[in-house]
Amino acid sequence: MKRDLLLFLAVTAFSLLSLTGAWGGVMVQCPEDLDGDGVSDVDLPHVVCRHLTGGDGFTVMADGRSMYIFGFGDVTGMPADQVLESGILGAQFPAPTIVLDEGDDFYLTLTNVGMLMRPDLFDPHTVHFHGFPEVASIFDGLPESSVGINMGSSITYYYHIAVPGTFMYHCHAEATEHMQMGMLGNLYVRPAQNSLPDGTDLKGFIHHTGYKYAYNDGDGSTRYDVEYAIQMSSFDPEFHDADLNVQPLPFADMRDKYALLNGRGYPDTVLQGPILNKVNGRNSQPLDSLVHARQGQRILLRLSNLSVTRYYTLSIGGLYMKVIAKDAKLLQASDGRPMSYDTTTVTLGGGESVDVIIDTAGVPPGTYVMYATQAQYLSNNEEDYGGMMTEIVIE
């Protein structure tokens, strides 16, 4: 098969070029990694190492249309000599979810495996840890003010995870193109309050081991039982096809026709399990958005929007959401008074996040629908009853 031959040639070429030193090759940096797989081999509390590839791949939309993407793949712990083969045409959408704990030292290696379907492109990639405060420009992933990693090479970013919250990440190289093409993902940080000693009194709220909070609230108000990170995004199929077919990119004319939650349109959003793309059969959209809880549980939704074209409003039929934080900041007055509020809708522009808690105490069991109130986006391009919609099942 032609594509397999291409893959073989690409891997061979990359290996040869890194042998000659022309390309850096796969290089993972992680403290106390003794065998080169990018994972610490001694137990270092608070050291987290991840390894991502940046490259291309394919997804399939809910109406069956195949969609070419740029994206990140997860090769954490993989021996270096297998990384290229896994990364090439191995992009995932959304990008692999990154979950961290406050206080972590986070080493994130990005290996640029190139875009197999676009051998004419030599684009670097980056990781931008969107919204995370006080990062030096070298680790900000903004190619204009720092560096991008070239094809066939790796760079390791480092972040000291000093604050909790719902952030997000994306590539910032050729931002409009690479983000429209899918280099977007969920990223959040759990608070240090989770690890308090059992029995700690938080202004009358007694913490117990195993309790989880969204933020360091100091009073237990952000405690939850189950959490889901759901990222809004949208695709313009004309743009993706133009990129695949090496046509001029319709930047000014960009019109997103697929409104997505975690990379899928309804009903794929509630389909648990893999969706295999039609080109090389990889599970490139591994994330569903089906929310499950038992009556009485508190559901934390970590919502973010990385659409490059528009604002979206999400509503849940029949349920209220308590907005507890925006842009990774607890809603709290300077004297500590809560400023959280109840609502049926949250509106997010590109690059905004909110945390909402749904308290299901007394909520009748059943299936509730979460959907974009801009109803024209409840479609998968020309197919209706789809788009930006998912379900919350309460048992």
Binding site: G131, S146, Q180, A192, D327, M339, G349, G350
Partner: protein
């Protein structure tokens, strides 16, 4: 795509820095360009703006006379309590007016009565008066045929200085939490060039305002990279205002953000959260004397049409995990901004002891439930680098202001400390945590100094970098609907600029 990108960024940036260098002689303060006073004449007339990729767009602007209209209209810088008079003349083919949301006792005389206010036509000016009763950030715009006239460019910013404003100790609202070191305007708007062409050709009946589809996005009337060119650049005669925020670590930068178009724009600023202290010219306050106690922090501020936001942005490099000045030894000099938070010992800490109470200004800023790296040094010395016995410790809040101290780290010996000695959160002396790839495996940005350290010029290959003469850290401040980072079909551009955090020895205007 890359060749274009470099080309796009280069030509005017170098000029900005050149100009900054020339202006740095005096003690002038970075501020917002505009006109001050109590009486203004504004003329509404057509003109042309330029876009970075070479287009020229017909617009309707405001200015001192028909040959000097601008986009946006002049920023009016007023003083709280003043009664303001603005006379509007028109050279436009349709009636025009101005409205002043947020101002008090607005009155209009002359011209003819329109739907919203009195309107000017050629030869029949209108005089508006109002009282600038409250400090803050506002906008003014046409109150006539708004669907078309806002698109065409008839709007501008108003800044009202608080009573008793002191340019050497400026505040936005007279409160201590609204004090700032530098202020910048971010007036975000967009244009659909097809509508402008129809107006230019007089084909009004073909205009469908509801079908507006913008392809140009602006900050202060310019598209990137022109946003970063000097203010009043000769080659942009109708777009006098730039947007090139620069600051030193630890300073307070006041962002005055205005949604001046008709779409929402999610304005995202790399580098840190900013704290919104006011909206629409009103402090977010629960009552007199409370300051902006209802303020909120964001990493993206949605600029809604007709809405204004005042936000304080700061950057200290706090808890980065490594020393961003590149020091490798504790005895290297402490630079400004390196001690993120300083507290004092409220009781002696004896050798081997593990618990102490902390007080002073910084105590509240220690994290609630997490260990941080700190330096302890004697109050007899001005900073830890001067104290030969300084000690690296890890500090964790136990409860209230009682802290647990882990001692004996990083080559120091546990010793006794006295009441009043200092404890500061800092990464001073911590090494850079990773090895960067070889240069041949990297693509360099024009704003990269070649080094990860602030104020340190590294080794860049010939022809790389070039727009960062003081080796600062640059952060993109931009609309996060990335479609708006275009000039028509060309990336990058649009509603975007760069924040420069420059080392202390670098002059800023």
């Amino acid at each position: 795509m890359r060749v274009r990108q470099i080309f796009q960024f280069t030509y005017c940036l170098a000029l900005t820095f050149l100009l900054v260098g020339l202006l740095s002689e005096g003690p002038a303060q970075a501020t917002i360009q505009g006109i001050s006073g109590i009486s203004f004449t504004l003329v509404a007339a057509p003109g042309y703006i330029k876009t970075p990729e070479g287009n020229s767009i017909f617009f309707w602007g405001l200015g001192s006379d028909v040959n000097h209209v601008q986009y946006p209209g002049p920023t009016l810088i007023l003083n709280e309590g003043d009664t303001i008079t603005i006379t509007l003349y028109s050279a436009l083919p349709q009636p025009v007016s101005l409205v002043f949301p947020g101002q008090e006792q607005v009155q209009a005389q002359g011209g003819s009565q329109g739907k919203v206010t009195r309107e000017a036509t050629p030869g029949r000016p209108v005089t508006y008066t109002f009282v600038a009763a409250h400090p803050g950030t506002y906008l003014y715009y046409s109150g006539t045929n708004m669907a078309l006239q806002h698109e065409m460019g008839l709007f501008g910013a108003i800044i009202v200085r608080p009573a008793g404003f002191d340019p050497n100790a400026p505040t936005a609202y007279g409160t201590s939490d609204s004090r700032y070191d530098r202020e910048y305007l971010f007036m975000i708007s967009e244009m659909d060039p097809d509508i402008h062409r129809l107006v230019e050709e007089g084909r009004y009946s073909e205009i469908e305002n509801a079908d507006v589809f913008p392809t140009y996005y602006f900050i202060n009337g310019r598209n990137a990279p022109d946003t970063m060119a000097p203010a009043f650049a000769e080659w942009l005669p109708t777009q006098p205002y730039n947007c090139m925020p620069l600051m030193h670590p630890g300073e307070r930068l006041l962002m005055r953000i205005i949604g001046a178009g008709r779409d929402n724009h999610p304005y995202h600023f790399h580098g840190n959260h900013a704290k919104v202290i006011a909206e629409d010219g009103r402090l977010l306050s629960s009552g007199p004397g409370k300051g902006a106690d209802l303020g909120y922090s964001r990493f993206t501020i949605s600029a809604v049409p007709g809405h204004t936001y005042d936000a304080i942005f700061q950057w200290t490099g706090r808890e980065m995990g490594w020393d961003y000045y590149g020091h490798t030894s504790l005895s290297d000099p402490i630079e400004r901004g390196e001690l993120a938070v300083t507290a004092t010992l409220e009781a002696p800490l004896s050798a081997g002891s593990a618990q102490v109470t902390l007080g002073g200004q910084g105590e509240k800023e220690f994290p609630m439930y997490r260990e941080v790296r700190c330096l302890i040094w004697s109050k007899a010395y001005p900073s830890p680098d001067k104290d030969p016995n300084r000690e690296v410790v890890k500090v964790k809040r136990a409860s209230g202001n009682l802290f647990t101290i882990s001692r004996g780290l990083e080559g120091t010996t546990a010793r006794a400390w006295s009441e009043g000695d200092y404890v500061a959160i800092t990464d001073h002396g911590r090494p850079f945590p990773v090895v960067l790839p070889e240069n041949q495996n990297l693509t360099f940005g024009a704003f990269y100094s070649g080094s990860p350290y602030l104020g340190n010029a590294g080794n860049l290959p010939p022809g790389e970098g070039g727009l960062n003469p003081f080796s600062g850290f640059f952060y993109m401040w931009h609309s996060h609907n990335e479609k708006e980072l275009l000039n028509n079909n060309i990336f990058p551009g649009g509603a975007m600029t760069m924040l420069g955090i420059l080392p202390y020895n670098a002059p800023i205007e």
